[in-house]
């Protein structure tokens, strides 16, 4: 960027939060027509729509929402790697939701309580993500404390995604957030739900040695490239067209 900033909104932060919401919304949209029960078709679409709404607001703070979503290369996306992970089975999706919605609720809660540029958006979004967390918690309980099979699958979901959770607490430039408090609050809430679900918190590392903060730097996992190839293909096939 050259010259004076066009707004008081820190662009890197708008992109980080906007990309998280955009990418997770896309992954949840992949469930349409495949959910295990009709009520979950409605619920997952509802969460995806909330996130897409947040993404559109945030990306519009950083530029043109469609240019940002459809014309950036993989390395320019700033989302955490957790949200780009493939859906897996329903338990994996719920584990991803539990980890991310808990983080997002605490993050937006802090932003809403402050007087920074994201406070108005966060105040609206925190109500939505509090429902997302409630949804994830209820399913974690049902699956963890349901049948042997569901317990095994829920544990596998929590275990597999655990190593992507450390990145959530890497400070993001431009966000006035107490990251230590965020991490502590997150750990308390997730531990409580997991315990109640008769499961145990995974024991491995929350970060790989070289992946600390990687998503925020534009380093993603292999499935992400394929995801955005599908997402961007039609838009890129018609340069300059309006839809």
């Amino acid at each position: 960027m050259t010259g004076a900033p066009v707004s008081t909104v820190p662009l890197s932060a708008a992109l980080a939060l906007g990309d998280d919401a955009l990418v997770l919304s896309h992954r949840l949209g992949e469930w349409a027509g495949h959910a295990p029960v009709l009520e979950e078709e409605v619920a997952l679409a509802n969460i995806a729509l909330d996130l897409l709404g947040q993404a559109r607001t945030l990306l519009s703070l950083a530029g043109d929402e469609d240019e940002l979503a459809y014309l950036r290369e993989e390395r320019a996306f700033r989302n955490v790697q957790l949200v780009e992970q493939p859906n897996g089975d329903f338990a994996h999706t719920i584990a991803r939701q539990l980890y991310f919605a808990t983080y997002q609720e605490l993050l937006y809660g802090q932003l809403a309580a402050g007087d920074g540029p994201f406070a108005p958006l966060a105040a609206k979004a925190v109500k939505e993500v509090s429902y997302h967390r409630d949804h994830a918690e209820h399913w974690t309980l049902r699956l963890g404390d349901g049948t042997e099979e569901s317990h095994r699958r829920m544990r596998a979901g929590l275990d597999d995604l655990w190593r992507f959770t450390g990145e959530l607490f890497e400070p993001v430039d431009g966000l006035d957030v107490d990251w230590t408090a965020l991490r502590d609050g997150w750990l308390t809430l997730v531990t409580k739900t997991v315990d109640q679900a008769t499961l145990a918190l995974p024991t491995g590392p929350q970060l790989g040695a070289w992946t600390a903060g990687a998503g925020r730097q534009g380093i993603h996992t292999e499935p992400f490239g394929r995801m955005i190839a599908e997402m961007q293909h039609l838009h890129r096939s018609h340069p300059g067209a309006t839809w």
């Binding site: 009520e39 459809y70 839809w243």
Partner: protein, 320 residues
Amino acid sequence: MTTTAPEAGAYEAVFDATVAADERIEPRDWMPDAYRATLVRQIAQHAHSEIIGMQPEANWITRAPSLRRKAILMAKVQDEAGHGLYLYSAAETLGTGRDELLDKLHAGRQRYSSIFNYPTLTWADVGAIGWLVDGAAITNQVPLCRCSYGPYARAMVRICKEESFHQRQGYELLLALSRGTEAQHAMAQDAVDRWWWPSLMMFGPPDDESAHSAQSMAWKIKRHSNDELRQRFVDICVPQAESLGLALPDPDLRWNEERGHHDFGAIDWDEFHEVLRGNGPCNDQRINQRRQAHEEGAWVREAAAAYAGKHSEAHREAQA
């Protein structure tokens, strides 16, 4: 029912009088077995159409070309799941649960609308489905808001409101394409060319070949004949196609001053019957995806049931 013959006759007289007076039959009212069976068949077919109908549109959610279009499409597919929920609930008021109906769908013993056995090949198909398929569905469904069975009629009031929004978004999507680049315009025209005739088939076979129509009309489940509704739909679409700047693929389509309606070309009923028999482009694909989602979701539903069982037991023990 274990009523004796004279009592059954009296119940039937009340039922007939209620229908004749254009009042609603409610779940706890006596009704003829055949009326109940007809409604279950029709409501189930409608519910199945909503959930199978999610597939051709969901096919484009991950490729929607703008975030605004993506949000609209996701909301639309979500509405369809919601319609499925109301309709399965309406069927449940007649004593048939969702699980039983889904089993029949998966076993191929109940139908869904044949239109969903056609593929969505381009983005413009999302618009054509909204404009033509949802448009035809509304034409069929608005009269159902006055259907003699109360729960179905009330479900249809809400569904028709949402369908009308779906139809408008489809029209608006096609308008943007039609007025867009040459490639976009061609994409829109191609979609209309492929969806026009199957949409006309959605009204069912011609009146003289329609198996269930006469009795349904007498019971006021159905209010207008297939051909009447088809004509109404054609008359609505012609001026809309002109505003869209898109052609309808029928050289015989023209205004008939004498009839006060548009004449249109002959429908290929062989194609209709072939698709109905299972030989459409996507019959197997649609039902296989539905079965697969259901089978892969079995462990989730079992877990939810087991959890609810454990916790209601724990609750009862705590109360004891």
